[in-house]
């Protein structure tokens, strides 16, 4: 399985939001509900990251329970991608 950069995940998140007419602010501290990023968007982003990686990511429940900001999403994807590689 290949690796993926934080910048690439960020671009993918931006593309996902743009498709819905929303935008991803530069500030990673912005809360997800402020930009309209839904649970299903989170899941779709993870599926796209997996496709890009060419393999399955690994997840930890404890991390899943603290997803509130853009930074949390990027951290989560980065860690899950690293654990799966």
């Amino acid at each position: 399985m290949s690796s993926i950069s934080r910048a690439t995940v960020r671009q993918m998140m931006q593309a996902l939001l743009q498709r819905q007419g929303k935008s991803l602010p530069a500030d990673e501290g912005v809360r997800l509900q402020e930009i309209g990023f839904r649970s299903l968007d989170f899941a779709e982003l993870a599926l796209r990251v997996e496709t890009k990686l060419g393999g399955s990511m690994q997840f930890e429940t404890s991390v899943l329970r603290s997803i509130q900001t853009v930074r949390d999403v990027l951290d989560f994807m980065e860690r899950a991608a690293a654990d799966g590689s």
């Binding site: 509900q33 990023f37 839904r38 649970s39 299903l40 599926l47 997840f59 429940t61 329970r65 603290s66």
Partner: protein
């Protein structure tokens, strides 16, 4: 601006709570808008309850999710499985968060995760879900694993235009439509021939199916892995929701077949005494005819195991098409579960 509140509850649900399910998930699956159906599936299953999560925005109910207990068996043991069902979150709340322990999490994720933990902490040994890739991803993030079941089957295509696998593939879709026409012709010709030979079938109503259900309940458990139990209480419950159909030969209570109902139908059990000629073909033709009348999408016959041995020739005569299909089931077990949760033996008993 959160304001969303999560309530976890072990049923049975009162009529007011059932009505909430009807107003939420009932807008997705109309069966749940019927209080009688919701009462049967949630409250009148063999365990008499289900686990529920309700999401409220102030006084307004905006979300629901449930885990329905189902008895399962495998490895020489019987245990309590739970099927995730009836997930709904109002569109206006999907970007909002819910309190989950010490943290806030996206509402849809929190809704599912909290109820899974609740059910596993309240007696469920293993949870299973059949769902979309997106919801499945959320479940994987919550510790679920993916069980991949690949099964050799023969298919009768009732409504090929409804099949997701054919979407965006016009050539295959055209072939499927042509195959469906051939199968429909074979079915009509076979039924006419069987009728002329006096090989007629009957649909068993409630009270006429005891022998068939008892035979189904005697199905031996899988030698490896686990599956949904065929115990008498589970079968009666599924029958009470019209999730099983039973057909038998006229004047022969000992020659019958059982299939699930719904869009994707499958023969689950068959009993064919050697002195009942034409029974395999007549029973399969009857189930295919029922599937057509009910506007189902497919009827399938598993080609491996005793059902395959009994019905393969009949399936060929009705032009059923052999195909290997993969089914993903998302599974998560409680600590101490004695089997690998992903080692499940899938059939349509996993679907409600």
């Amino acid at each position: 601006m959160s304001g969303l509140h999560l309530e976890l509850r072990r049923g049975p649900l009162d009529p007011a709570a059932l009505a909430i399910v009807g107003r939420t998930y009932g807008t997705i699956d109309p069966r749940y808008a019927d209080p009688g159906f919701a009462d049967t599936i949630f409250n009148r299953n063999p365990h008499g309850f289900s686990w529920h999560a309700f999401v409220r925005d102030g006084e307004r109910a905006v979300g629901h999710y449930s885990v329905i207990p189902m008895r399962a068996r495998g490895g020489g043991a019987s245990f309590l499985a739970g099927k995730g069902e009836a997930l709904y979150l109002d569109e206006t709340c999907r970007a909002r968060t819910l309190r989950l322990g010490e943290d806030d999490a996206p509402a849809g994720i929190a809704l599912m995760s909290a109820l899974h933990s609740h059910a596993l902490g309240d007696g469920a040994d293993v949870l299973h879900n059949i769902t979309s890739a997106e919801i499945g991803m959320i479940q994987r993030m919550d510790g679920f694993r993916v069980a991949r079941s690949r099964r050799a089957q023969a298919h009768f295509l009732v409504s090929p235009s409804q099949l997701r696998q054919l979407g965006g593939r016009p050539a295959q879709a055209a072939l499927a439509r042509a195959l469906a026409l051939i199968q429909r012709g074979a079915l009509a010709w076979t039924r006419a021939r069987l009728s002329a030979q006096g090989a007629r079938t009957l649909a068993c109503g409630p009270g006429e199916d005891a022998g068939a259900l008892a035979s189904f309940a005697r199905t031996p458990p899988p030698t490896e892995g686990w599956t949904i139990d065929r115990d008498a209480a589970t079968l009666r419950w599924l029958r009470s929701m019209d999730r099983l159909t039973v057909v038998r030969m006229e004047r022969r209570a000992d020659a019958f077949a059982i299939a699930n109902t719904g869009r994707a139908r499958e023969v689950l059990h068959v009993e064919l005494p050697p002195d009942a000629p034409h029974a395999a073909l007549a029973l399969l033709a009857s189930l295919a005819h029922d599937a057509v009348r009910a506007n189902a999408w497919t009827l399938s016959v598993p080609l491996e195991g005793p059902i395959g041995a009994a019905l393969a020739a009949a399936a060929r005569m009705l032009c059923f098409r052999p195909r290997t299909l993969e089914q993903l089931v998302y599974v998560k077990a409680a600590p101490g579960f004695p089997l690998r949760p992903e080692a499940l033996v899938y059939d349509r008993m996993f679907n409600l």
